[in-house]
């Protein structure tokens, strides 16, 4: 049979393969196995050899490199009953990364150790609507420095970080293309200034994408393919396929908010017509439900909507029902285009899920029967801090997949 080459091979790319690449690959393989052990259980070198298919000798040598780099450490013993007990290995809890977020009404930073444990978190309220990037980033740098030094006092070194921003980004260029709710467009960020001298630097993420990645780590069902729908002012999405974020050729796939759900519908801020966002975005729901969003803060408007729903107010119920129905249409089309069968609701969709669920499932049944089972529509497991955790988690994952970055 014709099959793609397994394991290490599989370039077709441009770089020549040398012997050193094998070591890089195997370092990642071993570290990956250590990382995927449940916290509390620490694999020994022998277990890693069995799990990876490498020989004990190779594993010993690879583990030595990882220990030298401080990425992992030895911890206690691992008695097996008979025989010499193995030495447990774990991700070094003295090394961490920082997740950061700029959102409409706050900036935040959190230190997450390599095992994924949140050590410190600080949220600072700040009105970033129609802001200028410079001062916001300066404030975030101050916040990051404070949290970083607090970590340092506890003996934790921050290796790198990730910043999540609500807008379209070009991660390679550290550029925010457009973030309508911040009022940013085409701004180049000085990410290095957030964590000076951190060996891994700072990576940039779209907020919905980062939240989708957080969901990937924290999903109770361990799903590796799903669409995360982020309901904020706009409707965003993060597409996770094969445990990887799928961003498409242009880098902005999963923008489920602008799928056409009503060809005769309203004009959208994106210039299109009948986009999901015009029906299921926060402002659209508030308006349809007869709740002003301008005079209240958005969270107050949401509280008011929930009250109205509890009181079974027809306008509110109809608005949410319509949002659910249209979300179903968009998800039906998504199922066809990327052949995905599971959805995670975040943002206001998570909050409104009790009212959304039924029209959503009916709509899926009508437009894409058999594509989604009812258990395949679930609610975010991480909640509001998803973007923060996802940005940090993604940096950790990059490290686990390419540990040679930290070898001397």
């Amino acid at each position: 049979m014709v099959m793609p080459a397994p394991g290490v091979a599989g370039s077709g790319g441009s770089a020549p393969g040398s012997v050193g690449d094998v070591r890089r690959s195997n370092l990642a393989l071993v570290l990956g196995r250590i990382a995927e052990f449940p916290p509390g259980a620490h694999p020994s070198r022998a277990q890693l050899a069995a799990a990876t298919g490498l020989t004990k000798a190779s594993v010993s040598s690879l583990v030595l490199d990882l220990l030298d780099a401080g990425i992992i450490r030895e911890i206690g013993f691992n008695p097996q009953g008979r025989g010499r007990p193995g030495v447990g290995l774990e991700l070094n809890p003295g090394r961490a990364v920082m997740g950061m977020e700029v959102n409409v009404d706050y900036i935040s930073a959190a230190v997450v150790d390599l095992a994924g444990k949140v050590l410190l978190r600080e949220v600072q309220e700040r009105d970033n609507r129609n802001s200028v990037d410079g001062p916001v980033m300066a404030a975030l740098a101050v916040l990051a420095a404070r949290v970083r030094s607090a970590a340092g006092e506890r003996g934790v070194e921050v290796l790198g970080g990730g910043l999540a921003v609500p807008g379209l980004v070009d991660p390679a260029a550290a550029r925010v293309l457009t973030a309508p709710n911040l009022g940013w467009a085409g701004v180049d960020l000085d990410l290095g200034a957030l964590l000076p001298e951190a060996p891994l630097g700072v990576a940039l993420f779209n907020e919905a994408n980062a939240a989708a990645l957080a969901e990937l780590r924290h999903r109770p069902d361990g799903a590796s393919d799903f669409l995360f729908v982020s309901g904020e002012v706009g409707v965003g999405g993060g597409l996770v396929i094969g445990s990887e974020l799928f961003t498409g050729p242009g880098g902005h796939a999963g923008e489920v908010g602008h799928i056409v759900v009503d060809p005769d519908g309203a004009r959208c801020s994106c210039g299109g017509t009948g986009c999901l966002e015009t029906v299921a975005g926060q402002d659209a729901i508030f308006e349809a439900a007869g709740i002003g969003s301008v005079e209240h803060s958005r969270s107050a408007a949401m509280a008011k909507l929930l009250q109205a729903l509890d009181a079974r107010q027809p306008g509110a119920l109809a608005a949410v029902e319509r949002a659910g129905r249209c979300l179903g249409i968009a998800l039906a089309s998504t199922a066809r285009v990327v052949n995905i069968a599971s959805v995670v609701l975040g943002g206001h969709f998570a909050v409104l899920e009790p009212w959304l669920r039924s029209p959503l499932l009916q709509s899926l049944q009508k437009y894409a029967p058999g594509r989604y089972a009812s258990g395949q529509v679930s609610v975010s497991a991480v909640g509001e801090s998803g973007a923060l955790l996802g940005a940090a988690g993604s940096v950790i994952r990059s490290l686990v997949e390419a540990p040679h970055q930290l070898l001397s």
Copy 2:
């Protein structure tokens, strides 16, 4: 910065990397460079060393393996002006693969050499509507054997093949899940019987996907990201992203025919409602245009439709205009979900392009402004034989990416 590991590394997967993998990777690298040279220009070992970054010594050794396996051969000289002339290398034209196709009203087979040249082709008319797989496959095996021995008489050895089928397939299991127009569902194919003892075996492809791959090889603009829309009885699609077929987690991505374009529309054969296929499939267009498709053959109906369009008959014009508009809606949503910006029209969409183009572009402008430029909507460069050529081309590509399969 946090980046995935380049070149050979990049597993995270399960297989350990050994030294031998480096060779496999570099064999593919060298062979890939030879393959991408334009026909007529034959690279020397020295040029390959420069192009790949490998040393001359390594390239010599790798080339020797490829020569021994018969995948490439030396051809003539390559005078550079001064100095010793290099020896040209090319893909061995004495080795080939076979593309095969089962379609509604024919079966076909073609022998394509490793450079992509079609050496032989045979199409055999056969009504496969509501057929049983056994006799069809038997007839195809006879056809394949005949074409294979004709190639053998010309000194060409067939290494493997690919079969394209109009339906959902599971390539790994050699299983056709459902092919409505053939009347097949859940049939296991004996692909090995088509090309007994061929070292690479026979791979199975969905027709639209195979056609999309053919498009990839023959696109004049060299685009590496596009959606191929295949208009047959149904509306299929093949999504090419980064020069790879993107099949999604379930293996059936790009099914653009079942995107919802009219929430209040007609019931679709897939069980959904308002799918693109209910508006833009061949039968749907014929019906809307007032042309019976039952009494005529499908090709006769298409001729009648073209006549009606030429005569500016309002019903026909309106039917095609509506199909174009709805295709635009589907493509707008696709642009959002997978962030693709270029479309290739195949099947009846290619035939009807003069009438479709304008409503399609208007629709794209209305629903996804800025996503597709007018030049980004083009017509298939390969025409009817796309699936056949694509299946063969894909097998060739698998070989070029994993040549070690043929080493002793």
